[in-house]
Symmetry: C2
Subunit: 114 residues, 2 copies
């Protein structure tokens, strides 16, 4: 890496920014949430669950995707504790389980509508 000769690095500015930057773990944690919402199919699942609880089968109809594909995505969201599930006989219902994510989505939706 090229440590720019003289004028490029403004050391004061760099130090100020570095000092105020969140810890690396915090950054990774934030990125993790954003990544969960970064795939349109997965985001659509979350948006559907924002409306109400749904079973895997219903989600697959809503999102127009295989139940298998949906199930894989739900597992990912489950691992991140963004959703939780409850079983009722053969059917498994999923719900959003992360208030931060819920309000983040609402916030984004508000902005999308100008």
């Amino acid at each position: 890496m090229n440590v720019c000769a003289d004028k490029c690095i403004n050391e004061a500015n760099v130090n100020k920014t570095v000092k105020n930057l969140p810890d690396q773990e915090v950054i990774v944690g934030m990125a993790e949430i954003f990544k969960a919402l970064s795939d349109p199919s997965r985001l659509k699942i979350v948006l559907a669950l924002l409306e109400q609880e749904h079973c895997v089968c219903d989600i697959s109809v809503i999102c127009n995707q295989t139940e298998s594909a949906i199930s894989h995505q739900l597992r990912l969201l489950r691992n991140l504790k963004i959703v939780r599930n409850r079983r009722e006989g053969k059917i498994v219902y999923y719900t959003l389980d992360d208030d931060h994510v819920i309000s983040l989505i609402h916030y984004s939706l508000d902005h999308v509508k100008h």
Copy 2:
């Protein structure tokens, strides 16, 4: 795809959710922003620029990454109009240029700090 036999699809619920779901383009647009913030290195760049304007060289020091790597990430952010740049001689300064993203990040940061 298996159109669940009888009881699985709750047609009323499905219809209600589908009706309230944002348009596909909106979903894709939201996901695009989340994706931009979903990589820790890229998020760190954005967080650094949240503090103040920086040149590529400084960002590379702050983020501890090659100038080339930073430049590639900045191009992506530039294409999404999340950042803009201005040249001053040999040096190019980058600034955040999307108010929605700025407030989204602030919002997330507030939540991270419980």
